[in-house]
Amino acid sequence: MSLLEIENLTARYSSGAGDVLKGIDVSVEEGEIVALLGANGAGKSTTLRAISGLVPHVGGSIKLGGVPLFGQGVEAIVRLGVAHVPEGRRVFPGLTVAENIMLGASNRTGLGRAEMMREVDEKFELFPDLVRLRDALGWTLSGGQLQMVAVARGLMAKPRVLLLDEPSLGLAPLIVQQVFKIVAEIRRRGTTVLLVEQNANVALSVADRGYVLETGRVLVSGKPEDLWKDPQVRAAYLGGHAIA
């Protein structure tokens, strides 16, 4: 049985609107990095939001370790072990870096303050660039720094699966590589990752498997080396002209 099992997932944002997802099947095994790829509007972020319970109208089923997630509140889903690092990072602008990371543990009951601070310090080992920014307020950080804080905060939840939404968004190529080195490192340390990414090449460079979404459906899925060669992937991003 897969750790995260998504079957025939449909989703819409309001009752009158059209389906953003039209029956998606995705599975994530323990210890994998799985990438959801596709152009903007394909439904990648919606899939992650549906897992976290943020989409009001959903159908199909999502199970984490066999436990159905539908019908649970957002906060309950987090307690079950889903940590979501959303698009745009959403680092609290008025709190410091350390405070932001600390709050990542809000889903864990019975965690002592000393223990928590020790774990926060561990995160700074994983992200040495953040050490000197420990007491900087969220709004003063750059895009790459925000992304690192957001990932560190997500890891504080000790998640069974980490949902990462567009970590490369708006980052310069060099910073993107840094971020993805960290993603690979996170997996090496045993965290399962479901990654949404528009930047297909960099995502496939770390992923074990990938799914390419187009307009709410899975177009193709498979190993990175197969997807790499598939002309459909290119077309999904750049349209027919690019392959011509």
Partner: protein, 590 residues
């Protein structure tokens, strides 16, 4: 068709109003002579006039005023002081009171309406308190807490309003006229602008509406209506004192409006009648009646958001009939393009910095007249910032924007629309409280549009635009009842009805399903066929390559490619921007 439409609109409601006048005069004279009935009705009628002011400011324009009793008081004190101390006639004194209310309303509005919605609430509460202080303490002018007695009633030529019945008839006729005016306002150009402001300030601004001025006018009108009611109140009761115009009374007036329904003067009329008569019936409640008012306000907000009138309308809402007959074709090519510049939009060195972040870093771009120009780029490349600068929502850090030969770099959004720049929004911004047709009429009414001054032509133009996008059959439906894709068409129709020189489409395919995307592509091809200049921003490459003549690609706030679609989409930098750098990324994996 246009002739019929025009004349029907001009006299709309007049026959009913004349009948109503006759009826109310008859009722007024048939009442028993007992003061009790006269007083109850006098209060109800004068209050109803003031409450209809709240319909304008709160119902139509969505701004909270909590000082209606203060404006009511200004009207009343105008009549009382004018007649008793300055020996003016009733009508001149009344005008003074109304003028004072209107003037103060406009001044308060100018001071607070540029800021967020709750500022007006606070400023009006403050004003209410200050006025009460003045009425109580400025003995020489206001007679202080004892109030003013012996306010005479008017004569007008041979007609005397000195008797109770006659004066009540005057009040009731005024109420009929006010109700007619407020009802007609809702479906007129100004009223539509107010509702557009209420539903979506941003979209209203990009439809050429001066949002701030519209709010000030709405608030000023509501103050004037308060003054009209107050003046009649003073004549009706012939005695006034400061406590009749206190904060508590403002709340009573607000409750009346909310209970009846703030979307219609008929609603406010019902609300007023109910709340004047109800306490009379429920005399045992006397001690707690204000507490009941307070609780009622909460309960109405929770259970009756549209008031009693909204509830009744829901019961009797008829299926709206489609509008038949031919309408002239949409004149899509701009008629105002006197300056034959080759380019409609020219942008030079445009930059926008947020602190250290360079969201736009010196972009240059030119849109040729009659072409479809696409602006693309990965997420976070600066496209949204670009649009917000072009449409005037952000001020650029540097650079120049020239539109149709006019430098619009520092011009507010509504004036850009007036110059012929129409747009749609990524997250649909329709006016939710209005019908499909009304939404598009707001677009057609852009100042400077050829049809804007003639209501019949506005309807025709709006229908033509709806016809073009295939939604004419839905003209009378609430816009919120349409599917997401059709709401986007309403936005496009709203923009087309404004006869734009250039149409700016901000991610029109976002949120559409596959069929809808296909239909949108067909619609854009038809628009292109008519020679309309379009600047389209989208992620959907299939859509872009179908319609674009020219593509500009942004990444990290800079222009990385510009040219014909085929060249641009095969440009290595563009592929790298979208798919990432293959070799480097592969290196990162090892």
């Amino acid at each position: 068709m246009s002739v019929n439409l025009a004349s029907a609109r001009l006299w709309r409601g007049f026959p009913q109003a004349i009948l109503a006048c006759v009826a109310v005069v008859a009722v007024a004279f048939m009442l028993p002579s007992e003061g009790y009935y006269l007083n109850i009705l006098m209060q109800a009628v004068t209050y109803a006039i003031a409450v209809s002011g709240l319909v304008v400011v709160l119902g139509y324009c969505g701004q909270i005023s909590i000082a209606q009793a203060a404006f009511f008081g200004l009207g009343a004190y105008g009549v009382a002081i004018g007649m008793v101390d300055y020996h003016l006639g009733f009508f001149p004194a009344w005008l003074c009171g109304i003028g004072a209310a209107g003037l103060l309303g406009v001044v308060l509005g100018l001071g607070s309406l540029r800021l967020g919605g709750h500022y007006l609430a606070m400023v009006t509460i403050s004003f209410q308190q200050i006025l009460t202080l003045f009425l109580t303490n400025w003995l020489e002018f206001t007679h202080g807490p004892d109030g003013i007695r012996g306010i005479p009633r008017p004569r007008l030529g041979p007609i005397s309003f000195e008797g109770g019945h006659a004066f009540l008839a005057l009040c009731m006729v005024t109420l009929v006229i006010v109700t007619l005016a407020v009802w007609r306002l809702k479906t007129g150009r100004l009223g539509r602008a107010m509702q557009a402001v209420r539903d979506n300030e941003l979209a209203a601004g990009t439809c050429g509406i001066n949002v701030f001025a519209t709010k000030v006018i709405a608030f000023g009108l509501s103050a004037v209506l308060g003054g009209i009611g107050g003046g009649l109140f003073a004549g009706g009761f012939q005695y006034i004192s400061p406590d009749q115009f206190s904060f508590g009374e403002s709340i009573v007036l607000l409750t009346m409006a909310l209970l009846g329904g703030v979307q219609s003067p008929f609603g406010s009329l019902i609300g007023t009648m109910v709340l004047i008569i109800l306490p009379e019936w429920l005399r045992f409640l006397k001690e707690v009646y204000l507490a009941v008012y307070g609780a009622a306000v909460i309960l109405i907000m929770v259970f009756l958001p549209d008031g009693l009138w909204g509830l009744m309308l829901e019961r009797v809402r008829k299926r709206a009939k489609p509008i038949l007959g031919d309408v002239p074709k949409l004149p899509l090519l701009s008629q105002t393009g006197a300056a034959r510049t080759d380019f409609v939009l020219t942008i030079e060195g445009l930059a926008k910095h947020f602190g250290g972040l360079k969201a736009l870093d010196g972009i240059s771009l030119a849109v040729r007249r009659g072409s479809v120009h696409a602006l693309i780029g990965p997420n976070g490349s600066g496209k949204s910032t670009f649009i917000n600068v072009i449409t005037g929502l952000y001020k650029p850090t540097a650079g120049r924007v020239v539109f149709a030969g006019q430098d619009i770099t520092h011009v507010p959004p509504y004036e850009r629309n007036r110059a012929g720049l129409a747009r749609t929004f990524q997250n649909i911004r329709v006016f939710r409280g209005m019908t499909v047709l009304e939404n598009v009429m707001v677009g057609a009414e852009r100042p400077g549009n050829d049809v804007a001054e003639n209501p019949a032509f506005v309807v025709e133009r709006a229908l033509a635009a709806l016809d073009f996008v295939g939604l004419r059959g839905d003209a009378h439906r609430e816009v919120g009842a349409l599917s997401y894709g059709h709401q986007r068409y309403v936005e496009i129709a709203r923009a087309l009805a404004a006869t734009p020189q250039m149409l700016l489409l901000d991610e029109p395919a976002a949120g559409l399903n596959l069929t809808e995307k296909h239909e949108l592509g067909e619609l854009l091809k038809r628009l292109k066929g008519h020679g309309l200049t379009i600047l389209i921003i989208d992620h959907d490459m299939k859509l872009v390559e179908q319609v674009a003549d020219h593509i500009t690609v942004l990444n990290f706030g800079k222009r990385i490619a510009d040219g014909m679609p085929k060249d641009v989409l095969n440009h290595p930098d563009v592929i790298a921007a979208y798919l990432g750098e293959p070799q480097e990324a592969a290196g990162a994996a090892s």
